[in-house]
Symmetry: C2
Subunit: 235 residues, 2 copies
């Protein structure tokens, strides 16, 4: 909630209205005050209404109605971007939101929701991002090829995170590859990236598996990939 | 299922019985054959029974009854161990299982379930580990101080993963600290590690946050920490 208000304060979006239960208003007087100070209309609601509005079984009792968080690709992929996370065909909103959180933590400049990826405004995605959807530019591009063109035009090297890639990211990093401006492309948890997508990118790398596990899940793989780039770019 | 049978084949545990639905047996004839070949009793069950046995809403139709996967601390923490993940007070079984999967992928030698951490045999934990509970030694130690003593005796440096630590793991890695035999200690998603636990360990490190996120979730933080050590130890 604080993140939404801070985001609106920068002029990048708007909080239209805040719905709050009596209990939540008592617990979070600072949030209500900040909303009022920002000129946001605050309305009291019942617990039942808050639950219905927040589409969750354990609502926090505060619901903000915001303008969409996504921006046009040209606004997100400005010249000078160094690290971008691209989700391709990620259907699970919790996974998508967790990757947004990881990308934000790793200092990524933007997250691209490409192809048939879930809507970033899905409630589970917003919650899993723990406010990060308000921190960095989110852009949606239905046509993945168009997204890749935009990323290349912004000077980014497109790297598929692919568990079946012959090379791992440590090897690539030792060669200096990860220091380049990079867009990491992540596929769905269930199927990974389609072969033709991998083939259309500039490189594909796997997270090395040193033990008996077959793979990592999407969010943990994204964490290792994005942090490897973030570190290499800052070295 | 294959992991359970492979685990039993090494003599580290036993698969007592396999319950399988008709549909699942048709889909996975190799699993049924492997079980029969291994001398495991295979029993047909209804979909309803399989659902009840597996305690999940989307059962796969195959349920194995296994001996416990956990081993005594002395068996898990043998001299020469280099990388261990320790869960302290982690209540969420899905998070615990995901960390087991990450630890396995990063080549950790063992996972310690310490203090009030969830039971590793919890169905959600086993499922989230995607078979990894069968790949590396899991040990449970109720008394966290006792667990830490055992880890130190095995020659491990105890490092708290603590979002509030003054130093980050990149700084420590550049100094060479992560190449040492290390036990990473992870706290609960909700509260992290208690201050007295952090104070009782040899060091505390945070994952650097380069962007606007407040923190990482448990599994993604564990991925960054464990992979940083795995890489440093192999460099």
């Amino acid at each position: 909630m604080r993140e939404a208000l801070a985001w609106a304060a920068t002029g990048r979006g708007e909080v239209h209205e805040l719905f709050v239960t009596t209990v939540a208003a008592t617990r979070n007087p600072d949030v209500v005050r900040a909303a009022v100070d920002a000129g946001v209309r605050v309305s009291g609601v019942t617990d039942k209404a808050a639950a219905a509005l927040s589409e969750t079984v354990t609502p926090q009792g505060v619901v903000a109605v915001c303008s969409p968080v996504d921006v046009p690709p040209a606004e997100a992929l400005v010249p000078g971007v160094r690290l971008v996370a691209v989700l391709h065909g990620v259907a699970d909103p919790g996974n998508a939101g967790t990757v947004v959180r990881v990308a934000d933590a790793a200092g990524a400049d933007a997250v691209v929701f490409a192809g048939d990826t879930v809507d970033p405004h899905n409630g589970k995605c917003v919650r899993a991002s723990t406010g990060s959807v308000f921190h960095l530019p989110i852009t949606r591009v239905r046509d993945a090829a168009e997204a890749f063109d935009g990323l290349r035009s912004a000077g980014l090297r497109l790297v598929a995170a692919d568990g079946h890639a012959p090379e791992d990211l440590v090897t690539a990093d030792l060669r200096g590859d990860l220091a380049a401006p990079t867009a990491w492309v992540f596929g769905s948890e269930a199927h990974g990236l389609p072969d033709d997508v991998v083939a259309s990118l500039d490189a594909s790398l796997k997270v090395p598996i040193y033990g008996g596990a077959e793979s990592l899940n999407l969010a943990t793989a994204a964490a290792v990939c994005l942090y490897a780039s973030a570190r290499a770019q800052r070295a």
